[in-house]
């Protein structure tokens, strides 16, 4: 497999990746999946409180790990290295956007959301704005986010599975497609079994596996190749000058505007993603919500600070590997074809470094753990949008716990089937798919959360107008840029629009506009009721609240404390 343009299997497989059954890695991965199923079974759930918010009992370190595992998906573990190698300095917008957003989440929303104390993100929107329509829009948005986001995970899992188990193509499907189906089946099975309690317990385990595998991979590659010793996160600086200017030259592949738009979108997206927010509903109290954000960010940085280092090692190994027959600099950065190597760069780097097969398998297993943990979080929030927000709140108000859990499980299966179908032939790379989900969350949900929590006069009309505006602003570039890749030549319909309202960073325009629309409409219409205002105030009150209490409970039952 030499030459830059040669690709295996419908262009999805990177050259130089050895697809065959590998015994030791296969045993490792199967063992790992068995552990996930076992933990899921042990902590399986019987009621909705456990199903959606893990009984609100999760502690600081455990939730920090869950935040980390939930967050770091195939896009972080596998896709980010590709982004950094492909786009040079622009790739760092993803490193920054996907980490620093947690600070904004922490100071403006984490503890306040915990005090509001509901089950899902659409719950917050519906109850805060007293509107089933608003709840419905938020639920559909949450479902859409879970779906778009999960496609990339399915692809990542399948690529790694293919590397480990070889080509198991059946029933006329390619090896990659067969692997998508197998991996998604396992994920859905374990999720329907375990619910949020099992998923959260599993996330701690998955975090340990994924970070262990990533760090081991990075340290061993760096050490054996003589690139680094104890601090690869800093030592890779010495490699940069050897990699060609494309690796670090600012704004070579993307304009400063795109850099800022992307970074901004990822930051506000972080604060608007339902599967991230729900992590704050699962903790025991607001102080835990705060500190677990700090621990969570620390756990995330263990991977994110290492990602550029690992990428630099991978690119260097790519340069010196005789089989790739080209170099990074000769390619002027990375061409689209060679870049495919980098989709699984983390795994391929270990292979290029001639490390033992079981070790490469261990690194690959980390990728699967990352993808499964994130898919778990996404599917649970997506299905809770269906079961809790749409079914219980809009269709059948008297639903029993059994019915709710049944509909929830059906939701997970439905998401699994949809994602599997979409991942069989994905049209966009992992990183891009995930970023569209961030733009959506940032434009539609983040302004509702922020204004809903911080400005008590935000009302129903304002929220509805704002969310519809946000959805529109998100759809315009999706139609302009993403639709053509499916139905025509892939060029955007209006180039100027693609430049100033890029799909990947549309929240830079979306957020200010949605804020303005929401505020103007809220001011022009009636103020919300006193009860709603009290709920908002309760979110900021310094008074401790009971573990199972929500702001609404306090406002309704404990009228006493609100002596304003």
């Amino acid at each position: 497999m030499t030459g830059t343009g040669t690709l295996l299997q419908s262009g999805l497989l990177p050259q130089g990746m050895d697809v065959s059954f590998k015994l030791a890695p296969a045993v490792l991965v199967l063992g790992m999946l068995a552990i996930f199923l076992l933990i899921g079974f042990v902590f399986r759930v019987a009621d909705t409180e456990d199903m959606w918010v893990a009984g609100r009992s999760i502690g600081n370190i455990e939730n920090g790990m869950a935040i980390g595992a939930n967050w770091m998906s195939a896009a972080s573990y596998l896709g980010m290295a590709a982004l950094i190698a492909l786009s040079g300095f622009y790739g760092l917008a993803f490193v920054v956007g996907w980490t620093t957003g947690y600070f904004i989440l922490l100071i403006f929303m984490a503890a306040q959301m915990r005090r509001f104390g509901k089950y899902t993100a659409p719950d917050f929107v519906g109850d805060r704005f007293n509107s089933d329509t608003a709840r419905g829009i938020a639920a559909v948005t949450a479902f859409l986010i879970a779906f778009v986001y999960a496609i990339g995970q399915a692809r990542g899992m399948a690529l790694v599975g293919l590397y480990i188990f070889g080509d198991i193509g059946f029933a006329g499907l390619s090896g990659y497609q067969a692997m998508v189906i197998v991996m998604m089946a396992i994920t859905v099975l374990y999720l329907t079994l375990s619910g949020m309690m099992g998923a959260t317990k599993n996330m701690a385990v998955q975090y340990v596996i994924l970070i262990g595998a990533f760090l081991a991979g990075m340290y061993v590659v760096g050490w054996t190749q003589g690139y680094s010793t104890v601090l690869p996160q800093i030592e890779y600086g010495m490699l940069i000058s050897e990699l060609g200017s494309e690796f670090s030259e600012p704004f070579a592949t993307a304009s400063p505007y795109l850099w800022i738009a992307t970074c901004f979108s990822l930051v506000v997206g972080t604060c608007g993603l339902p599967h991230v927010l729900v992590r704050f509903y699962t903790v025991e109290n607001e102080r835990t919500a705060r500190w677990s954000t700090v621990t969570g960010l620390f756990f995330i940085l263990l991977l994110y600070l290492g990602a550029p280092a690992y990428t630099a090692f991978g690119v260097r190994l790519f340069d010196v590997n005789p089989n790739t027959a080209t170099t990074y600099a000769a390619e002027g950065g990375m061409s689209a074809a060679t870049a495919d190597v980098l989709v699984v760069l983390v795994v391929v780097a270990a292979q290029f470094a001639n490390l033992p097969q079981w070790f490469v398998g261990f690194v690959a297993a980390g990728g699967i753990a990352a993808a499964i943990a994130t898919t778990a979080g996404l599917f649970i929030t997506g299905s809770s949008a269906v079961s809790h927000d749409i079914y219980v709140n809009l269709i059948n108000e008297d639903a029993t716990q059994r019915q709710q859990i049944l509909v929830g499980r059906l939701g997970i299966v439905a998401l699994g089937v949809l994602t599997t179908l979409a991942a069989l032939d994905p049209a966009a790379p992992i990183g891009a798919l995930v970023s569209y989900a961030f733009s959506l969350a940032g434009s539609v949900l983040f302004p509702m959360f922020f204004l809903g929590l911080w400005w008590e006069n935000t009302n129903r009309q304002g929220a509805l107008a704002g969310m519809l505006t946000g959805l529109t602003i998100w759809f315009i570039p999706m139609i302009n840029e993403v639709l053509p890749t499916y139905i025509s030549n892939g060029e955007p319909y209006v180039a100027a629009l693609a430049q100033w309202l890029p799909a990947i960073g549309s929240a830079l325009v979306g957020v200010p506009v949605v804020f303005a629309v929401t505020i103007i409409v809220s001011v022009m219409t009636d103020e919300p009721s006193l009860k709603t205002k009290k709920m908002v105030r309760q979110c900021h009150s310094p008074e401790p609240m009971g573990q199972q209490q929500s702001a609404e409970d306090v406002v309704t039952d404990g009228g006493e404390p609100l002596d304003d």
């Binding site: 400063p256 800022i260 700090v294």
Partner: protein
Amino acid sequence: MRDHLRVIWTGFIAWAILVFGPVFATIAAPETMTSQIPVIEFPLHYFLVAFCAPSGALILSAWYARKRDQLDAKYGIDHSEPTGTAGSAEDATATDGGVDQ
């Protein structure tokens, strides 16, 4: 509450400079920003963005969570034993954000 807001806005401004400062600086003065840092040999802009921004956000987060704990201690708020009913403390707080300051 007012103490808390001051902490929040201080943190937010520090965060904005940390995250977007290096990028704007690189746009304004590309020559200076891409020069190599001695010893670790990073181009300055690359190091500020890839390393300093994420780690800075972590430090800010820890700083905020600690500040918030100190504020809780200052006003005698204890999260370790949730009260169940929110109205038990003697100086029941007005939740409009003015009284506890």
